[in-house]
Amino acid sequence: MFWVRFRKNKLALFGAITVFILCGVALFAPWFAPHDPVSIDVDHILEPPSAGHPLGTDELGRDVLSRIIWGARISLAVGFVAVGISALIGILLGAISGYYGGWFDTVIMRFVDVMLCIPTFFLILAAIAFLEPNIWIIMAVIGLTSWMGVARLVRAEFLSLKEREFILAARCVGASNFRIIFRHILPNALSPVLVSVVLGVAGAILVESALSFLGIGIQPPTASWGNILASGKDNIEIAWWLSVFPGVAILVTVLAYNLLGEGIRDAIDPRLKK
């Protein structure tokens, strides 16, 4: 049923295929990239797209296509790991506060409210200003500041699922609380989490690009879509290809994840679709 409905949605299918291709490109970057993304070639600086360099070269003569392909690795890795961290924290806190309720629930939910009040991007900026900006720190910081939505979602699912009769039935056969939470309730609560996780990847990729663009994300010479864009900004009057292609890469990726996420949501619950 899920697959039948999903397939009918052309946009979602487009998103899924694009995400699939992107992941393939990122995974096999060394095979796809025509050049070494960090090898400097001072004889071919800021060359427009040509047969040798399909997307041109940057201010140090590096091949833009290769840098975008390697950048896909960084962007997707940041997206997945950051969302993985946020999903883990969100599911754990949401499950415990939804299942047990009481003061723990109150504390967690007020903490979520507080976290939601702080503009996340500035929190990340502030955190990274104090820490060394490497890829692991960026993943961790994005993950630690984006779990609140998942926590609320999981908590709401748990609140309604824990009252269902099959949970009582599970207790009657002697299942422990731990077993009920992770084996009986969680699998029933995962579909909305899946949607939120897929949409979350898009958000994390955007945040990483923005950080790298501002120069506090992924540090050159490692390629990231954000820092290619940043070097494009300095040369925008003479080298349009340096800004346009990484920009398109970000746009297509984020769009693809959003379409995929919304497609999954509509396929899970067709009533949501207007």
């Binding site: 009769e165 009582l168 009657c172 056969v173 002697g174 029933n188």
Partner: protein, 319 residues
């Protein structure tokens, strides 16, 4: 052989709601010997299901057991730590629910749920658990190819209830509590499922508490009957005796309101009035407003359950 398996004394369970204390179970006592069966009969809201949940200490919030003892094989279940209670549930006391569709987890297959119940309590390999699962499904008569991999929504109501019985039997419990096991089923399937339950109960020499609102379907399947009204047991006796010589006016009312197809011309007799609110019970007998032989004492003083000979107990001033 006739050892006491379960002895409940003065069990009281209340729900503490915003509107006040709802006294769902008000000091009930009964006992059940090994291999015997008890029918717990009463209308909706009389505390039957709350009694069942109290027995395995799973009264939902805001309910709480406020008094009483539940001795199972001599140990008080209410004094047990929650961890040892986990071993009692399913392994010693198993339960069958009214609506088998909602009592199964929708995302796992029937087989894996029965198998899991086995693995929770018994140290056996997964393969052995799977073997036992197919054996159990065979015992309850749904051994057809594929049932073990089916999801709950793919089975019919009767098959689901049979699967539920298989799950309850998975760890060979000594006491089976069946809470309205056939209410959600077709009349034609009801008899089959009840027959299966009593057959298995006799074959395995289990004790059973069969909870129902329908006196007609349990009367010839259990050894003892307890009639509940407003959270109290109002009459308790051997099933045969209770059906042939009902003493409490509520019991006779229940028996009279069983439809009889041979008396088609006459309108079905009912008990007039409605159950009083458990929030605001009358001072005397809780049945006094609906009783045809009520007198002044009934309105003043609550009758206690007393033995009027040969183990036939009744709580009525007028008997």
């Amino acid at each position: 052989m006739h050892e006491t398996l379960l002895e409940v004394s003065n069990l009281s369970t209340s729900f503490f709601t915003d509107a006040g204390e709802v006294r769902a179970v008000r000091g009930i006592s009964f006992f059940l010997n090994e291999g015997k069966s008890l029918g717990l009969v009463g209308e909706s809201g009389c505390g039957k299901s709350v009694t069942a949940l109290s027995l395995i200490n799973l009264v939902p919030y805001p309910g709480r057991i406020i008094a009483g003892n539940i001795f199972y094989r001599g140990k008080d279940l209410l004094q047990l730590e929650s961890k040892s209670m986990l071993d009692v549930r399913g392994k010693e006391i198993a339960m069958i629910f009214q609506e088998p569709l909602t009592a199964f987890n929708p995302v796992f297959s029937i087989g894996s749920q029965v198998q899991e119940a086995i693995l929770t309590h018994q140290k056996v390999s997964k393969k052995e658990a799977l073997n036992r699962t197919s054996k159990l499904l065979e015992d309850v008569g749904i051994s057809q190819e594929g049932v073990i991999e089916n999801y709950p929504h793919q089975l019919s109501g009767g098959m689901r209830q049979r699967a539920m019985i298989a799950m309850a039997l998975s760890c060979d419990p000594s006491l089976l509590i069946a809470d309205e096991p056939t209410t959600a089923l077709d009349v034609t399937i009801q008899a089959q499922v009840l027959g299966l339950i009593s057959e298995i109960q006799k074959k395995r020499n289990m004790s059973m508490i069969l909870i129902t609102h329908d006196l007609g379907i349990v009367a010839d399947r259990v050894e003892y009957l307890a009639i509940m009204y407003c959270g109290k047991i109002v009459e308790y006796s051997l099933a045969k005796e209770l059906i042939s010589k009902p003493l409490h006016p509520y019991t006779s009312g229940l028996i009279d309101s069983i439809p009889d197809i041979s008396r088609r011309e006459k309108p079905l007799r009912t008990i007039k009035g409605a159950v009083p609110s458990l929030l605001n019970l009358p001072k005397g007998c809780s049945f006094c407003d609906r009783c045809f032989m009520v007198d002044s004492l009934c309105r003043l003083q609550e009758p206690q359950l007393r033995d009027i000979g040969a183990g036939h107990m009744v709580a009525c001033h007028r008997v």
